[in-house]
Symmetry: C2
Subunit: 215 residues, 2 copies
């Protein structure tokens, strides 16, 4: 397998964690978003829209992080990253999709670039702060006091939701969001960060780490 | 089962199609977004963040449309809405997640409300138009010329991706987007619209249809 990844990309980080939790070996192919390498014709053959990450497994190219995690679970089921019952899996997917649609969809790279160009840095920061607070509140509600929340998002073993939770908080910390209102998310994050799979996947431990000061 | 739905909601429309394709009976509970009913305390018990749709199946409440479709497929597998092979399922999910994260995440109700209040109608329309063109191009690339594209998104039977494709184009048409650049999507949409499940799920055929002139 090959993973097209960028060290600081929140989306790439999710898949690095999932691959590490499943103990799958892969070739790390860096796509330097800071240099615009995602727009190179060579990468456009892997992803026509130039997004990272892309996972290549033999003949199959898989896009979209929530879809990549489902694919890995189907093709490499052991160890499983999803709960055994349908209601539990629905809970995990509900969290993953909130990260994908509401957090990433509204504050991802392309949206930030559009806002910066159209309205400037002050408005971009205002936009990010608005959705960061709102989404943090939403995500915290999905874990705080829920009977299935354990040491990790669902029970006491790390799973698919944790692959999205940790990068979401990384993204928020990078942009100096106050996380005081999300104590349960932070507790789970801290449990994750001591786990070897999460350490291996961490942005600062990737081969392509380099200065990147973009907001 | 109960579906909390609003007739004009793109997200609700997706799940109405999926339920109809699976021939599942359900109680339709209207949440009038035009009157702000999603913020009522009663609905907040179903969805803490006040989003529609929510699907209630016995004890289980399921949120996020991409997660609801996965749940329905797992618990009510016949007829299946997903391809038989993992690569095909990854393709379907790639399309669904592009609709969810890139289209809905950037142009959904809450984002439109924020832009309208912060920047006004002209800027809201500019924003919508920017992402509409971009996402239409992205989605068209996922179907045009792909060997698995048939009468429908994947082959010649309607499936999970079509549950997202038709509402996506409904949303774009509602805001007067030019669809000329997406002939394959429009062809698939037209095939869907003659199918009884899609007719039953159509916004104009819901019990709560009523004037709603919001952008």
């Amino acid at each position: 397998m090959q993973l097209y990844s960028y060290w600081r990309s929140t989306s790439s980080y999710r898949i690095r964690i999932a691959l590490a939790l499943k103990r799958l070996e892969y070739e790390y192919i860096s796509v330097n978003l800071n240099n615009g390498e995602q727009h190179d014709p060579a990468y456009r053959k892997i992803h026509s829209d130039g997004q990272v990450p892309s996972l290549v497994d033999g003949e199959t190219i898989i896009h979209q992080t929530a879809g990549i995690v489902e694919y890995l679970e189907e093709v490499y089921p052991d160890p499983s990253l999803f709960p055994e019952n349908a209601a539990g899996r629905a809970r995990v997917r509900g969290f993953i999709l909130a990260c994908v649609a509401e957090m990433q969809g509204r504050t991802g790279r392309r949206v930030r670039d559009y806002l910066l160009e159209r309205y400037g840095m002050d408005d971009l920061k205002e936009w990010y702060g608005h959705w960061a607070v709102r989404n943090l509140e939403l995500l915290e509600k999905l874990v705080a006091g829920h009977p299935d929340t354990g040491k990790f998002f669902h029970g006491d073993q790390p799973g698919a939701a944790d692959c999205f939770l940790v990068p979401a908080l990384y993204n928020l910390r990078l942009r100096e969001t106050n996380l005081d209102q999300a104590p349960t998310l932070v507790r789970i994050e801290q449990n994750c960060l001591t786990h070897p799979a999460f350490k291996a996947a961490a942005p600062e431990n990737q081969i392509d780490v380099a200065p990147d000061t973009r907001y």
